[in-house]
């Protein structure tokens, strides 16, 4: 084939002076600027572009748009390789590399075509009836099926492209830029409204780009198109977005759009993203989404060279490509006559027009006959021939009723079939918006019914087929939308349109009869992408899958990447025929976003890697990193976990830290703890209601530990709260609970006790907190602080003093999570690092040891202190934890009080917190390990509870663990078992306090 053998140079919008080389299946071709991959292939006479999904039959380009089911291409190489891209939407660029899919070893010779020979064994749902025996072979079968299934290859490696997300707001969003969309955008934009006009194609104009015979307002179609676009662009608040698919319609007029920014460029600029995801909130939406042509369902209608009639016209008028030299036009309506006339004018041969309709009249028919085109009314194509390219058809007359054929068959040679089955309004977005569809019997199509959101449809998507009607509807819709959004003005006058028309009318024969029953001798394809035939639909109905939802899933019709754009209505109609039901009775399935497939990277956009989730670090973090600390996630925070010295593994480092924190001085960064400033005359009373214990009489400068319950009496947070002044408190919470507790306090104040005068303000990040603990901590603090009396009498345990530490204004809290003598020094966060460094320097002589969260966990566990979220999970109450002592029996009301008296909370076999010791002191139990009393050789065994915390305790010299066990406290002294994978560990139940059980050291 000579290069661009099928290019018609005097037609189309492509630029013959800019030739573009590209590769398809390893061969070099040349196309023109403005081509899609599909038009460029057709220009080179290439029709075979793929193999069907199941039967591997040769397939060619069917359409010229996003509805394309056959020409699915593996585009690009390496990490950018993208499967299942539609050749009809790929804009040609220099160096484009494309491969066909689903064939091996080659497109021309594909072993998979053997499936076609055994196709009678592979109808819809065959896999529900096969691969069942022997059952043990299932994994082998699955392996084979997986290799055979699927289309295209996923790329290996990360998506290297940048994607962006943008929010946008507008008064009117117009979807589609054909005559209706352009008219709507013009009318709306002229009022000054903020208008966004989006179209999935590379140029605006929609159908006007390929149907250019009409005269609009005395101008050529092209002049009207470009003048209208210029007029819209001149409106300051209008945004025009070609290459932008509106892809999803959500609640309250929220829509998503995918803009292809650089996909069409050979060398994308580095600073631009590949694509943008727009998230638009529109006051009003105008859907001008056009209509998609229906294929006709006739025997063997899937050969390469069998195309939609409007696509043949588009390739000719818009791209300057002749899809075949000898065309056969097969139609049930007038529109295909326009295709025949165009082909003839461009120098092609039209072998015949085969029209299912018996009676036809009008200008189009006359024009066709005038050009010498044979028109066969009341006839049908009953068979086709040609393995890799159609080469002839068999034509017969229909019976009067159209349900059979009669007379003699006539063979007509052709290398192109342009089929026209009518138009399906593109109602996907309307349907996603929850708008209703209604069936139009005359058009044989679903048209927009009741809107659900603030939206109107205009143009071909309402069923209007004449350009004049489309423009008129668009002007009205755009104007109404702008007015509803609060803008004034008058729509431009509807222009006069002159174009050819026919007699109208369509003959709907959903399954074109042939010489043999459906399913015999050939295949009537309905869904080209998933290889679903009319016989499959009949089979499904016979087998009882008669609801449209079952039909879809059993046959997989409409479930491909095209979501059935060219097959849905045909499938429903055939089902309707089989069930003798009308189509509204059959119903429709739901359209789902996205309208066309989009890259996962687009939805991730920037939010990968370092931007996946904010990483929060304290002001002292730099020191931890320099010291070689390992970190762990605590929510979004990265906290120092342990500080290994050279050669130390985690265990050694933690053991060392845990010992040093008691014996010498430990230092820890506790800045992440939640801190809430509470002020107001009702502050103390409020605390009284949210904590289980008493707060009214807490002295100024004194600290108290508090437990918070939900109304169901389950523990949900704890912390130490300090009275700074009569009406001023400083509350601390767990790191993870900080935001939740603040929300909780606000909820109760705003919704339940609005009369209480108290303010809550988060100060979590205002203060850096450095905790020092151990025998020598007082001595160390004294070196840096000379304005606070640190003696035990002047500064007792659970008190707070203000002063300066290392010259920095500070609040010093004498509280302890480790059970050692301990001071938590709070300074303004900007001074946190300076404070830490000063303590480290002064502490050097005391062998000061930084310790991380792991050591902190061990230290508190040695004391039996709980961690909310570790010993509790929302089902654990205070008494379960052995903390009945903190529950006031006198307070008239606090959150959770009533629920403590619920029978379920008083059951003796509730899970209670206990300690566990192992026989082997070095054996450390796994957290989460299940505990049983009645040990059996294998599960099932009755589980009594689980291990909540477990560590090796260097201060005790043996492992320690805490657990929640049914009736745990009554089991003290008992021997229980922890069955693990491969072994069982015996444990002894003890009180959950392992080190310094009398608590003397914190009081030192």
């Amino acid at each position: 084939m000579s290069p661009q053998s099928h290019r018609v140079t005097e037609r189309g919008r492509t630029d013959k002076t800019r030739l573009i080389p590209f590769k398809f299946d390893g061969r070099d071709y040349v196309g023109q600027a403005g081509d899609t991959l599909a038009s460029a292939l057709l220009a080179n006479g290439v029709h075979l572009v793929g193999r069907g999904f199941k039967y591997h039959r040769p397939r060619g380009i069917l359409s010229a748009g996003s509805e394309e089911p056959n020409a699915l291409i593996q585009l690009g190489q390496g990490q950018r390789s993208e499967p299942n891209t539609r050749a009809t939407q790929i804009e040609l660029f220099e160096g484009l590399v494309a491969e066909s899919q689903n064939r091996w070893p080659s497109l021309a010779f594909d072993i998979g075509e053997a499936n076609n020979l055994v196709s009678r064994l592979l109808p819809s749902g065959f896999y529900y009836k096969t691969f069942m025996w022997p059952a043990s072979w299932w994994e082998k079968y699955e392996h084979m099926i997986r290799r055979a299934a699927g289309l295209g290859k996923a790329p290996v490696g990360r998506d290297p492209d940048r994607y962006e997300k943008h929010h946008a707001h507008c008064d009117v969003l117009v979807v589609g830029s054909g005559p209706a969309g352009l008219a709507a955008a013009l009318a709306a934009a002229r009022t000054g409204a903020r208008v966004i006009l989006a179209d999935e194609q590379s140029e605006l104009g929609g159908g006007l780009l390929s149907n250019s015979e009409a005269t609009i307002a005395g101008k050529s179609t092209e002049a009207w198109r470009s003048d209208t676009i210029a007029a819209i662009e001149a409106c300051e608040a209008a945004t025009l977005l070609p290459r932008t698919t509106v892809t999803g319609y959500y609640d309250h007029n929220y829509l998503t759009m995918v803009e292809r920014v650089t996909d069409h460029l050979a060398n994308p600029p580095a600073h631009l993203p590949r694509q943008r995801l727009w998230k638009v909130r529109a006051k009003r939406v105008v859907l001008a989404t056009g209509a998609i042509e229906r294929p006709l369902v006739f025997r063997d209608n899937d050969r390469p060279g069998i195309m939609l009639s409007s696509a043949v016209r588009t390739y000719l008028q818009r791209y300057g490509v002749l899809s075949g030299r000898r065309a056969l036009v097969f139609t049930n309506n007038d529109d295909a006559y326009r295709t025949a006339l165009s082909l003839k004018e461009a120098g092609g041969v039209v072998a015949a027009i085969v029209d299912l309709r018996i009676e036809v009249s009008g200008a189009l028919l006359d024009a066709a006959r005038a050009k010498g085109i044979e028109v066969l009314l009341g006839h049908a194509v009953v068979a086709t021939k040609g393995h890799k390219h159609v080469r002839s058809v068999s034509v017969m007359a229909l019976t009067g009723a159209g349900d059979g054929v009669q007379g003699l068959a006539r063979e007509i040679e052709c290398d192109l079939i342009a089929m026209a089955g009518g138009w399906n309004p593109t109602v996907h977005l309307l349907s996603q918006s929850r708008g209703k569809l209604s069936w139009n019997e005359d058009l044989g199509a679903f048209v927009p019914g009741q809107s659900f959101q603030a939206e109107t449809s205009a143009g071909s998507c309402t069923g209007a087929l004449e350009t004049a009607d489309c423009i008129r509807q668009g002007l009205k819709a755009g104007m109404d939308a702008a007015r509803a959004a609060g803008f004034k003005g008058r729509a431009p006058a509807a222009p006069k349109v002159e174009e050819h028309s026919g007699s109208g009318g369509m003959r709907l024969i959903w399954t074109v009869p042939s010489t043999r029953p459906v399913g015999r001798g050939g295949k009537h394809f309905v869904d080209f992408q998933n290889d679903v035939t009319a016989a499959d639909i009949r089979l499904a109905a016979r087998e009882g899958y008669q609801s449209v939802e079952h039909l879809k899933r059993y046959t997989t019709t409409g479930m491909g990447t095209d979501q059935g754009k060219t097959s849905n209505v045909n499938a429903l109609a055939i089902l309707g025929d089989v069930l003798s039901s009308d189509i509204p009775g059959v119903g429709t399935t739901t359209f789902r976003a996205p309208f066309t497939p989009s890259a996962i990277g687009l939805y991730a956009a920037r939010n990968v890697g370092e931007f996946f989730d904010p990483e929060r670090r304290t002001m002292i973090d730099e020191w931890h990193r320099e010291a070689g600390a390992k970190f762990e996630h605590v929510g979004q925070w990265m906290r120092a976990w342990y500080y290994p010295k050279p050669g130390e593994a985690q265990r050694q480092a933690v053991d060392r830290e845990v010992k040093a924190a008691r014996d010498g001085v430990g230092i820890m960064d506790a800045s992440t703890l939640g801190k809430i400033d509470i002020q107001g005359p009702d502050a103390a009373e409020f605390l009284n209601r949210v904590y289980t214990n008493a707060w009214l009489k807490l002295g100024i400068g004194r600290c108290r530990y508090g437990l918070m319950l939900h109304e169901d009496a389950m523990v949900f947070d704890d912390g130490v709260t300090t009275r700074l002044a009569e009406n001023h408190f400083h509350m601390t919470t767990t790191t993870g609970g900080a935001a939740g507790v603040l929300d909780w306090l606000e909820e109760w104040r705003q919704t339940e006790w609005p009369e209480m005068k108290v303010h809550f303000t988060s100060v979590t990040e205002q203060w850096a907190v450095v905790s020092i603990c151990g025998r020598k901590s007082r001595e160390l603090l004294a070196e840096l602080c000379d304005d606070i009396d640190l003696s035990g009498e002047a500064f007792p345990f659970m008190a707070m003093r203000e002063g300066t530490v290392s010259g920095l204004p500070a609040r010093v809290f004498r509280i302890s999570f480790t059970g050692e003598l301990s001071y938590e020094i709070n300074v303004a966060a900007r001074h946190g690092l300076a404070l830490w460094r000063a303590l480290m320097a002064a502490g050097e002589k005391h062998a000061i040891t930084p310790y991380g969260t792991e050591a902190m966990h061990v230290l508190r566990a040695e004391k039996g202190f709980i961690i909310v979220g570790q010993e509790t999970d929302g089902t654990v109450g205070p008494d379960d934890l052995g903390m009945d002592w903190i529950v006031s029996k006198k307070k008239p009301d606090f959150i959770g009080r009533r629920s403590l008296a619920r029978p379920d909370m008083l059951k003796p076999d509730r899970k209670q917190l206990v300690g566990l010791l192992t026989d082997d002191p070095n054996e450390v139990l796994p957290e989460g390990g299940q505990i049983v009393a009645d040990l059996k050789p294998a599960p099932p065994m009755e589980m009594l509870g689980h291990i909540t915390s477990s560590y090796y305790s260097p201060n005790c010299g043996h492992s320690i663990a805490m657990a929640l066990i049914k009736g745990g406290r009554a089991r003290t002294g008992e021997k229980l078992f922890v069955p693990l994978d491969g072994k069982t560990v015996s444990v002894r139940v003890v009180e959950p306090k392992f080190f310094d059980p009398e608590g003397e050291r914190a009081n030192g």
Binding site: Y250, D251, H252, N253, Y254, K279, R281, R434, F452, E711, D712, D743, E746, E747, Q750, T751, E752, P754, R897, R898, S899, A901, R902, P903
Partner: protein, 118 residues
């Protein structure tokens, strides 16, 4: 992504808000007088209608104020936004409030007895 009109800040995306469950669950003021079953009914049972629902929201990522809403749980239409601590004024809202089983519940009677507010 619903568009919700915060009474203070105006219309904002749903992502700025946190849901607060069913509205007008009055907290009993003398809970000791309720049986365990009546208390459990107050605590654990919630309505789950298809249709008009009275619910609470807070503008979590904005002004942090709580407010009430009348929303159709099927269509997601937000029929009315009204202040925390007040009752709906829309027809559907008033209907949903009056029809709710909670109006006759022991917990609500208990709440009315003890306190001055509705």
């Amino acid at each position: 992504m619903l568009l919700i009109e915060c009474p203070w800040c105006g219309p904002r995306d749903e992502a700025e808000f946190a849901y607060g469950g069913e509205a007008h669950i009055a907290r009993p003021t003398e809970p000791d007088k309720l049986s365990d079953a009546e208390w459990a009914e107050y605590l654990f049972l919630a309505s789950n209608p298809r249709g008009t629902y009275l619910e609470r929201w807070r503008h979590a990522h904005g002004c942090r104020r709580w407010f009430n809403a009348v929303r159709d749980t099927y269509t997601h239409e937000i029929i009315e936004i009204y202040a925390m601590g007040s009752l709906p004024k829309s027809k559907l809202g008033i209907q949903a409030y009056e029809d709710s089983w909670r109006r006759g519940s022991a917990a609500e009677q208990n709440a009315k007895r003890g306190s001055a507010k509705s």
